[in-house]
Symmetry: C2
Subunit: 120 residues, 2 copies
Amino acid sequence: MRIGDAAAAAGTTPRALRFYEQRGLLAPARSASGQREYGPVELDRIRAIRSLLALGLTVEDVRGCADKLHLLVGDPPPVCPSAGPPSPAARVVDRRLAVLDAEIARLTRLRDTLAQRTGS
Amino acid sequence: MRIGDAAAAAGTTPRALRFYEQRGLLAPARSASGQREYGPVELDRIRAIRSLLALGLTVEDVRGCADKLHLLVGDPPPVCPSAGPPSPAARVVDRRLAVLDAEIARLTRLRDTLAQRTGS
DNA sequence: CTTGACCCTGACCCGCGCGTCAGGGGTTAG
DNA sequence: CTAACCCCTGACGCGCGGGTCAGGGTCAAG
């Protein structure tokens, strides 16, 4: 399928798909005339990218764990190994969690300081 | 005093002061040759603007309560009238509080969803 | 008068995740 | 063959709070 249909199937736009490709998240096949061709595998990958972006990861984050995309999109694995070295994907998520926590803390401090000005 | 000294005294840069002026937060006097002249009153105003921006208000917010800047920068008033119509400054702060609360809630939801992926 | 430090305006640059043209080529049904 | 629709690349726009030139005027000291 071509870019328009792939985008519609994934709930996004052709522009976004070209953008992901430019940032190294995607590498669809090309027809002889240069048109992008997306199969079901690419489609799953697009949906994975979309859901990670919706979770607040940046494009850069997603590229950092591009090889483990399928591990992050489904339901969390029923068995939690909790052994072995942390995967790069887990580290990316952990870093993002730390950023989120810091941002939440900062906004909360601002909120409280602001609230004091109007008499709580 | 001229813009460089005023900026240094307020802990910012000449560019920032010109930017605030362009956005309607500031209106310093000009010398005959067009140079900006800042007195102690303007200096206090600059410091008030800076502290409100540091609290997370936007430039637009600050312009919205430009007439009440001095009420927001000092210590909170010891007597809390809690009567009379809410001042425009208070409404600006309230709106900003609501935005902050919404943002904190959104980030918190993202954080929790993300955390589930790595087994909390 | 000259030098050096400062000031003026106007204009483009950043990150982020795309939206939105502009100008040209491919594809497919009738 | 043509119309209608899709696709290609490249480039600019947004919002925010300024940073960073470029090209020229002003001010105070020597």
